[in-house]
């Protein structure tokens, strides 16, 4: 594959029908031989990844064996719930809507987050909005995070986050993904189903998930697909246009936040091509030409891919043991 002279987005083209059938065969095989469960639970965010995952599960085992979950909270966009519901109804699957805000409130998610925010902006109130934005890396500086807050009057303030506030805000907001996963496993156990996780390849490879939150699942059917390819499957399945055309967001903070603002250094299409090129040993100069960037910038993108893999490697590991524990034939 390294022989391509001109790197183009065509390298990401897939035969969507064949790919879907391959994944469905894998899903059925996993249920039969490894998971010993009778269907799938999928949490639907209204985004393209969870929508395609649900559609694949339906094709694999039938709509009667797929259960959707819509799990909004206080900072979710209203359209997430609406799109998730539209998708569930189009697929014809059973689903539950559970507002997890009261649970998050009871466990202290919002209070811990807001307390850390107020250490940076004492004037911040519950009716303000907030988000975290990645900074520095694009200007050749070390990566760091800015906290951005917005008053009800629309005034926006921004400041670099110190260590303790950064850690506390991320830990508090990670409650959202972890509580969602707890609800998913409740329904999976209740129905004797497996939990289908929804990361795409960019998220899986670059560690863009919460450990024991959205990173947890019994099977991750689209983890090998670049985001561009997930969109291709969405169109193959005829999913609602608003899902096929939506830009990826985190839907975790109350201010609008694109994934490329929070984590990735490029919009997803360029990020897909960059990761593909990196995985196929394409020289940075060739990537630079395709993206219309300087060679230095393309080299930085490669370095960032390596750095994110390195720093998130632990998210993929299960609990470490100091000494091996033999578990017999299944170990």
């Amino acid at each position: 594959m390294t022989s391509v002279n001109k790197l183009s987005y065509a390298v990401l083209d897939i035969d969507a029908a064949a790919e879907a059938e391959k994944i469905c065969a894998g899903l059925r095989e996993a249920l039969r031989t490894r998971l010993h469960r009778r269907g799938f639970v999928v949490a639907l965010s209204g985004g393209v990844d969870s929508s395609v995952t649900a559609a694949l599960c339906v094709q694999a085992v039938g709509k009667e064996r797929v259960h959707g979950l819509l799990l909004p909270e206080r900072d979710s966009s209203g359209s997430s719930l609406e799109l998730g519901r539209t998708l569930a109804e189009q697929l014809g699957i059973a689903y539950h809507v559970q507002d997890i805000a009261p649970t998050l409130d009871a466990i202290g998610c919002y209070q811990w987050r807001d307390e850390a925010i107020r250490r940076v902006f004492p004037e911040y109130q519950a009716n303000w909005k907030s988000k975290i934005a990645l900074a520095g890396g694009n200007e050749g500086r070390l990566n760091y995070f800015n906290l951005v807050v917005q008053s009800p009057q629309g005034e926006i303030k921004q400041a670099r986050l110190g260590l303790n506030e950064y850690l506390q805000i991320v830990a508090a907001t990670s409650y959202k993904q972890r509580i969602r996963k707890t609800v998913e496993y409740f329904h999976a156990d209740r129905l004797n189903y497996a939990v289908a996780g929804t990361p795409n390849r960019l998220e899986y490879d670059q560690g863009f998930f919460v450990k024991n939150g959205d990173g947890s699942a019994d099977i991750k059917p689209i983890a090998h697909l670049y985001k561009t390819q997930v969109y291709a499957l969405a169109r193959h399945f005829g999913l609602p246009e608003r899902i096929c055309a939506a830009m990826p967001t985190t839907d975790t903070y109350s201010m609008a936040q694109g994934q490329d603002e929070f984590y990735f250094v490029l919009p997803y299409r360029e990020m897909d091509l960059s990761l593909w090129a990196y995985n196929h040993n394409i020289p940075a100069a060739q990537l630079a030409e395709s993206l219309g960037l300087s060679v230095e910038r393309a080299q930085f993108i490669y370095q960032d891919i390596e750095k994110k893999r390195r720093t998130t490697a632990y998210l993929h590991t299960s609990a470490l043991l100091v000494e091996d524990v033999a578990l017999g034939a299944s170990a």
């Binding site: 900074a135 520095g136 500086r141 070390l142 990566n143 760091y144 986050l161 260590l163 850690l167």
Partner: protein, 86 residues
């Protein structure tokens, strides 16, 4: 100006004790890239910055968050000296 040796000892002590969990001075060379060697990641850099700000009474500005200032014991020592002299 605070002596380079003093800054280096304080910094080494902090990194060895809090980030590397060892007293073995040989595991960390002054010229080693902290990021590339995996001694610190993006969170670790924030820890180092918090230590510098609290311990040496400096404020690390956004535009100073570059590897040339913060990526090795040697570069941090020079950076802290420049900041304290300013």
């Amino acid at each position: 100006m605070m002596e380079a040796k003093h800054i280096e000892q304080q910094l080494r002590g902090y990194i060895l004790e809090n980030l590397l969990f060892t007293k073995d001075q040989s595991v960390l060379k002054n010229e080693t890239s902290l990021l590339e060697s995996g001694v610190v990641d993006s969170t670790g850099i924030l820890e180092v910055i918090m230590f510098l700000e609290n311990h040496f009474g400096i404020k690390v500005e956004d535009e100073e968050m570059i590897p040339e200032n913060l990526d090795s014991i040697n570069s941090i020592v020079s950076y802290v000296q420049r900041k304290r002299a300013a």
